[in-house]
């Protein structure tokens, strides 16, 4: 596992640094937006917003998180399918499903670290403006973003790893259907919503094994 993490680290270190930088920049931007909001408007109006609309003022951070996860998935697996390089990974002297699992674990850890970074950043920023009752709930609200990011990471990984363009199109269509689930915002504030969101995230991870299995059957011939 250490060696696979080493390889994936080399492949993704620049992309990871860029992802952390972009997410940090968006966090800062969100912090200043809320700060300006409090300066420009009557704080009572903002509080009313929070109470009536269940608003979450740092919501925009979920966009760079999701985009980073998608790009990481693509950048991690496209070099494997390009030139059928995944054949080298398949022939490493260990079980090839295990090789793929370690690769996915590296990607997932990266997404989770990014999420932790964002969540910590949002909590820290929010603690300046909101009471604990609100910012204490941030991880449970943002867990939904984590699952969506995991879903997007896996979708990008499986599409990138698939060696044939036809297969890529088919997988992309299927995964677009799955992504639609995350557009249903009614689940978002609830724990059940997060629990339900866990299922498609897990299923999408399993989908990466499908294009990988094709390499032994002649995929990318």
């Amino acid at each position: 596992m250490k060696s696979i993490f080493y390889k994936e680290g080399i492949k993704l270190r620049r992309a990871l640094a860029a992802a952390f930088a972009v997410n940090a920049a968006v966090l800062l931007y969100s912090y200043f937006r809320v700060r300006v909001g409090f300066i420009m408007q009557e704080p009572a109006l903002l509080w009313l917003d929070i109470i009536e609309r269940n608003a979450f003022f740092f919501d925009r951070i979920s966009v760079p998180l999701a985009a980073s996860a998608f790009i990481l998935g693509f950048l991690q697996f496209y070099p494997e399918s390009s030139g059928r390089r995944f054949r080298i990974s398949c022939h490493l002297p260990q079980n090839e499903d295990l090789t793929l699992l370690y690769m996915l674990l590296f990607g997932l850890s990266s997404v989770c670290f990014l999420w932790l970074f964002d969540t910590a950043g949002v909590m820290l920023s929010a603690s300046f403006f909101f009471p604990y009752d609100l910012w204490g709930r941030i991880p449970s609200v943002m867990i939904y973003s984590l699952f969506f990011s995991v879903f997007l990471y896996s979708a990008a990984a499986s599409v990138a790893l698939e060696p044939s363009w036809g297969g890529r199109a088919g997988l992309a269509l299927l995964l677009c259907g799955g992504a639609a689930f995350f557009g249903v915002s009614v689940y978002r504030p609830s724990c059940w919503g997060a629990f339900i969101a866990f299922a498609p995230a897990l299923l999408s991870l399993a989908s990466v094994f499908y294009p990988a299995s094709g390499y032994r059957a002649g995929g990318g011939r």
Binding site: K2, S3, Y6, K7, I10, K11, P79, G83, R84, R85, R87, I88, C90, H91, L92, P93, Q94, N95, Y215, R216, A217, G218, R221
Partner: protein, 298 residues
């Protein structure tokens, strides 16, 4: 007769189709320990399909391929460790540097020979921090070959090693490989579009044509009963081209080569009536001549 214990790779009755087109029609051969085998075939003969199956990256429609007695599509980690693959185009993790490549592979291969790897890299004269993607095709081939040799594999499967290499790098590749294989008693299966390169390396040739093995024999036997005669340029060859004894007529810039089954003692009589010229001499038959004689040009 060699025992099964000496058989490193066995290919039994392989069949494969792409849609309705049958690419392999029962290909069989086996490889014994310590020998170098060349898999030869024209474009579309089934060579790539066979090598993909032998490497374990294509499931055949029928038949089986075993490496060290294991089905190649389900190789155990230990068998993978004993089998080194060189993929077409010298595939490598090109986002890695030379030093990173060594560190990565070393962790997977307990018998990793750092001496060989570093020797090759010193000869290459590139800094260890150079990324593989920033190397020329020839330089990349040397890194891939060094990594393959350092793994300590017992059997090497090399798919079209000559792809993208100029004459110098092709020769260097074969020189290095020859020394390594002879010293270590390795078993090798190699393919290349450039048959002349294989002549310097292989002991045994397996020739595939139209999805079937048409000849499988030691290199000397492949050339047996095949002769080549050279005539001056412009010799009239119309009468000879349809003769059943003639396997190929090749036109060069200053001569015409005739590959046939006519032995030297009968050549004078044979050609006098057909070529209208007794001005010819016999030259050595190359593996490429024998290959063309067996498979034809078309």
């Amino acid at each position: 007769m060699n025992s099964d214990a000496d058989t490193v790779i066995s290919v039994e009755n392989l069949e494969h189709s792409y849609g309705s087109a049958k690419a392999l029609k029962g290909v069989s051969f086996s490889m014994e320990k310590g020998r170098v085998y060349g898999l030869l075939g024209k474009n579309g003969a089934g060579k790539t399909t066979t090598i993909n199956i032998v490497m374990g990256f294509l499931k055949p429609s029928g038949g089986v391929c075993r490496v060290f007695g294991e089905d190649v599509s389900r190789m155990s980690p230990e068998t993978k460790r004993r089998t080194g693959l060189l993929h077409e185009g010298h595939l490598a993790y090109d986002f890695m540097t030379i030093a990173q490549t060594e560190k990565f592979y070393k962790s997977f291969y307990p018998r990793w020979d750092g001496g060989i790897f570093r020797y090759f890299m010193e000869k290459l004269g590139l800094p260890e921090s150079r990324k593989i993607k920033n190397m020329s095709c020839g330089q990349r081939s040397q890194v891939v070959l060094a990594a393959l040799m350092a793994q300590g594999a017992e059997v090497l499967i090399l798919d079209d090693f000559s792809m993208g290499l100029d004459a110098g790098y092709r020769r260097l590749f074969i020189d290095r490989l020859n020394e390594f294989v002879r010293e270590g008693g390795k078993t090798v299966l190699i393919t290349s579009h450039i048959v002349q390169d294989l002549e310097r390396f292989v002991d045994y040739a397996v020739i595939i044509n139209k999805g079937e093995v048409v000849k499988a024999a030691p290199l000397g036997d492949i050339k047996k009963d095949i002769y080549c005669y050279r005539f001056p340029a412009g010799s009239d060859r119309r009468l000879i081209e349809g003769d059943p004894s003639v396997m190929d007529v090749s036109v060069n810039n200053d001569s015409v080569d005739i590959i046939c089954s006519v032995p030297p003692e009968k050549a004078g009589e044979f050609f006098s009536g057909r070529m209208g010229s007794g001005d010819f001499y016999q030259r050595d038959v190359s593996l490429e001549d024998a290959f063309i004689a067996v498979t034809g040009k078309y």
